[in-house]
């Protein structure tokens, strides 16, 4: 049987699962491991909070998540066994973990919207996201007013946002809203006992 922490409703912790998972995805780039990190973090927080409640739950839980993530990174092998090299190891080494942060539907919809953008706007976004240039730096490079670059960037992002909102998985947001609204502990998943 799982005890309820004295200061914190189980549902309050469950609300943080999506955010912790996102942190883990950003750090580790693997959806399965991110689920594990989220579960482990909530279990650890649940046990830590039996007797007292921190002033702010978010930083407290995020701190636990960082420890869990650090443990996983430390445990990772740092070299490849010569015998175990996969034929596609080179491709794997260049895999972009960022792609794991959003789901397939969101990616596909944004991809489609990107195809519909003017080539120069795609190039603008590439400069923003890959070359990490600010609108002012891009303006300088292209020899156009910075304000024009800002407007183009905003317009391009607005189109992509529209596509993203249409595809967004309602589970990502509704869980947070619904839990806050109802405030029940009923949504708490069974906790894995790590002790």
């Amino acid at each position: 049987m799982v005890e309820r922490p004295a200061g914190v409703e189980g549902a309050e912790l469950e609300v943080l699962r999506a955010g912790v998972r996102l942190m883990a995805l950003q750090a580790l780039g693997n959806a399965d491991i991110a689920d594990e990190v989220a579960q482990e973090t909530i279990v650890r927080a649940f046990h830590s909070l039996r007797s007292s409640r921190p002033e702010r739950l978010g930083p407290f839980v995020a701190g636990i998540a960082r420890h869990v993530i650090a443990d996983i990174i430390r445990a990772r092998p740092r070299e490849v066994s010569f015998e175990n090299l996969a034929p596609d190891a080179e491709a794997q080494s260049q895999h972009d973990p960022l792609a794991a942060l959003c789901d397939e539907g969101e990616k596909a919809q944004v991809h489609e919207a990107l195809d519909l953008l003017a080539a120069r706007d795609r190039e603008l976004l590439r400069l923003v996201f890959f070359e990490e240039l600010s609108p002012s730096q891009i303006a300088q490079r292209l020899g156009v007013p910075a304000e024009r670059i800002r407007q183009r960037k905003l317009r391009a992002l607005a189109r992509l946002r529209l596509a993203f909102e249409e595809s967004a998985d309602p589970r990502h947001d509704s869980q947070l809203g619904a839990t806050i609204q109802h405030g029940t502990a009923g949504t708490l998943k069974p906790l894995r006992n790590t002790e």
Binding site: G19, L101, F164
Partner: protein, 242 residues
Amino acid sequence: MSTSLTCDESSRRSNAERYVARRMATQEAEAFEDHFVTCADCQREVRFASAIIAGLPRANVARPSAKAARRLWIGGGLAIAAGLATLMILRSEPRSELVALGGVREPPTYLGIPVRSADAPQDSLFEAAMGPYGRRRYAAAAAGLRAALAAGEDSMPAQFFLAASLLLDNRATEAVDEFQRVLSHGETPYRAEARYYRAKALLRLGRRADAQAELARLTSVDGVVYDMGRALADSIVHVNKR
């Protein structure tokens, strides 16, 4: 310690973009995480920014420039980078295989732990240099860490991560020297890892015997690094027998 963070539409977008692109300093990223873990709006912005990045290459947009691509290859190659492709192609040549064993899959982990309790100017330089390190831009990280050391930074983290950055930037000769500097300080938390990665750098230079000697200095008290060192030493013997 984390600081609180503004969450309006404009800052949400900016924060999410910079977080996903790993352009935030460690403390700022942590402050953002502390916030977004309870903020559905910011989580949505993070997913949005990542969807764009994931979509850009697939939309046949020009990939990062040749220079940037090289940077990604060198730095992001989960560092096996330099060795892996060579390893795949030149599998039948023992010397090349030995050199490939000097590849590094994951860069040494930096957890963003402050160097001192109170900030000093050189610590800011250290933190600034570790930003590029986290983004796998090892040439920039090495330059920044050299600046931090020149400004009076005397901490082992700066010295160790300078050596690691040089190794990951394919500057094995310099890496060998810088790891030696770490080792010359005796018992520090970085001693074992410095030995292990110095051995890797020596392998990159084809100095098998020196690499083996370095690995032989690891002891069981070095824990997981000792295990890694033994595995590497076994691989060297195995490859050398061919």
